[in-house]
């Protein structure tokens, strides 16, 4: 390396950098503006929530000017288009809860057992094949599930339950369960995998079988994460729309009979909008009241899930 180039550098690089720096006032301005700009973008998500709440609330209030809150919350009859309309939400709540519970009855045991298999039994290779396959299940559009429930599961169920109606709450409930399996499996598996391996080794070294490791050590340690996955699953089932719209009919039944057609809150919204709900009528406002109820339901579920899983994260 010549002394000449050394000198060159001495002059050029440092000086160049200093020079450039002096001519970069625009850049510093830009640099300062960036956080404000990004803040504005980030604020949009808060704005979306505000937008949802404002939209729902303002029309819901209008609804309650026409239909007393108590009638809405305790009414077991929903006849929006009748000459003597009644707006009790309980049939819809019943439909929603029933379908979600059926979904959970399917998804919780199967999802959890899949999670145990994937996290405790499967070899890396098997896990790497099975998990993406399960995730494919989560990627199937709900409309496809709806089609499946209507054209396959219901006829199949008729083989076992002859009196089942062509639209019923059982079939979409089961199919929603299938749809939720990967969600519960994957979230529970995450929770179980984050239990330190040393815990498993400790237990195995005492002569535990893998079943005992899973049931006595891993599941208790991952419990809050697992429960959070259940709650998120319920929340997902409550909000699911197309499967029930297609396969559970639109009878506003207040019943416990799962072979009957029932309507969920989401399916009611689809029915009432029917393309483009006309503004001004009580039915139109009922849409928002039902949506508000749905929103509150899922919000509660999500908050519970978050609280539970935060507790879980503090454990290690």
């Amino acid at each position: 390396m010549s002394i000449r180039s050394e000198l060159d550098r001495e002059i050029s690089v440092r000086n160049l950098i200093e020079q450039k720096r002096n001519s970069r006032s625009f850049n510093t301005l830009f640099e300062k503006a960036v956080p404000y700009f990004l803040f504005a973008i980030a604020a949009l998500s808060v704005l979306t929530t505000a937008g949802i709440i404002y939209t729902l609330l303002s029309e819901t209030i209008e609804f309650f000017k026409r239909v007393p809150l108590a009638d809405f919350l305790t009414g077991t009859v929903l006849k929006p288009l009748s000459q003597t309309p009644e707006f009790g939400i309980l049939p819809l709540v019943m439909g929603t809860i029933t379908s979600s519970l059926i979904a959970m009855v399917v998804a919780v045991p199967i999802g959890l057992m899949s999670a145990i298999y994937l996290s405790e039994y499967a070899s890396v290779k098997v896990r790497k094949t099975l998990k993406p396959l399960l995730e494919l299940l989560a990627g199937i559009p709900t409309i496809v599930y709806g089609f499946f429930a209507f054209t396959f599961v219901t006829p199949l169920l008729r083989e076992f339950i002859p009196q089942i109606q062509a639209t019923n709450i059982l079939s979409p409930g089961i199919v929603m369960g299938v749809m939720i399996i990967p969600m519960i499996a994957s979230l529970s598996e995450d929770a179980m995998s984050s239990v330190p391996n040393s815990m498993r080794e400790g237990s195995l070294a005492l002569g535990s079988t893998k079943l005992e490791v899973a049931v006595k050590v891993v599941i208790p340690a991952a419990l809050s994460g697992i429960i959070a996955s259940f709650i998120l699953g319920i929340s997902r089932a409550i909000g699911e729309t197309m499967i029930v719209t297609i396969a559970s009919g639109s009878t506003k039944n207040f019943t416990f009979d799962v072979t009957q057609s029932m309507q969920t809150m989401t399916a009611y919204i689809v029915e009432v909008t029917g393309g483009d709900a006309p503004a001004g009528s009580t039915i139109y406002y009922s849409l928002y009241a039902v949506a508000m109820t749905l929103f509150v339901f899922t919000l509660l579920m999500n908050l519970i899930a978050r609280t539970v899983s935060r507790k879980f994260r503090e454990e290690y």
């Binding site: 290779k125 040393s198 400790g202 195995l204 070294a205």
Partner: protein, 257 residues
């Protein structure tokens, strides 16, 4: 390489080879671990100490792609015998790990864990064994007032002794210890060493350590591993004062590793 054993071997290893995939981690190991003795396993990092220890209770098989040849007998029974379930072997052989790993349960439940999985539910029996095990592990006095509190409230040293108590509760033939004090402070280390001394008349111990002073302090016999091979195994005093292999000598004197 073995010499005069007036004690009965518990473990006998013959021509043991182990591969992680294609990497040959244990090469032709012959080694006996004698009853009611402390056998120390020393050697530089990566020489295969932990691998050997984990082979003794077949924990090494949890790692995918492990291949083993050769034989290991535990009290005369081949541990690789298909008819013996690994769980059986592991319930006879306790293991203590480098980092204390109590379960996220109460102190009591930690010690009772092994008993419960073996179907012991009798409350008073459980109580008795838990107390005895904690006493043997020199932990009873420190924890007797908080038996039903979480084990995570204990210090690192206490947790490690709890892990030892957990092993002792099922009355194992052998306890395998993989650098049980390397994550502990000097005071806790001292306590664990004392504990090892106090139980070694009841149970056979194999301990991996990177601390040569520790090996010389607590062990009866010492095996020196290098690059997956066993270089020398002898009475600890012999290994540290009069090793027969120059490599051992170099290692003991800090010339490598």
């Amino acid at each position: 390489m073995e010499n005069s054993n007036w004690k009965k071997p518990v473990y006998e290893t013959n021509g043991l080879n182990l591969w992680y995939g294609s990497s040959h981690a244990l090469k032709n190991i012959d080694l006996s671990i004698n009853e009611k003795e402390v056998t120390a396993i020393i050697g530089p990092s990566g020489c295969g100490k932990s691998t050997y220890l984990k082979t003794l209770n077949r924990m090494v098989e949890l790692i995918p792609d492990v291949n083993i040849s050769g034989s290991i007998t535990l009290k005369g029974e081949n541990i690789f015998d298909k008819s013996i379930p690994v769980e059986m072997i592991r319930s006879k052989v306790g293991m203590v790990f480098q980092k204390p790993n109590p379960f996220p349960k109460s102190i009591y439940e930690n010690v009772a864990f092994g008993l419960k999985i073996h179907g012991i539910r009798n409350k008073s029996l459980l109580d008795r064994i838990v107390e005895e095990s904690l006493q043997k592990a020199a932990l009873w006095d420190e924890v007797k007032d908080r038996l039903h509190k979480s084990a995570y409230g204990l210090s690192g040293g206490q947790q490690q002794r709890l892990c030892i108590a957990r092993c002792l509760a099922v009355d194992p033939e052998v306890i395998l210890m993989d650098e049980p004090t390397s994550a502990l402070d000097p005071v806790s280390t001292h306590k664990v060493e004392e504990l090892i001394n106090s139980i070694k008349n009841d149970v056979t111990i194999a301990i991996v350590t990177h601390n040569m002073q520790q090996a010389s302090r607590i062990s009866d016999r010492t095996a020196f591993f290098l690059n997956g091979e066993i270089i020398e195994c002898d009475q600890t005093t012999t290994i540290f004062n009069n090793p027969s292999d120059p490599l051992t000598n170099d290692y003991i004197n800090g010339r490598f590793g």
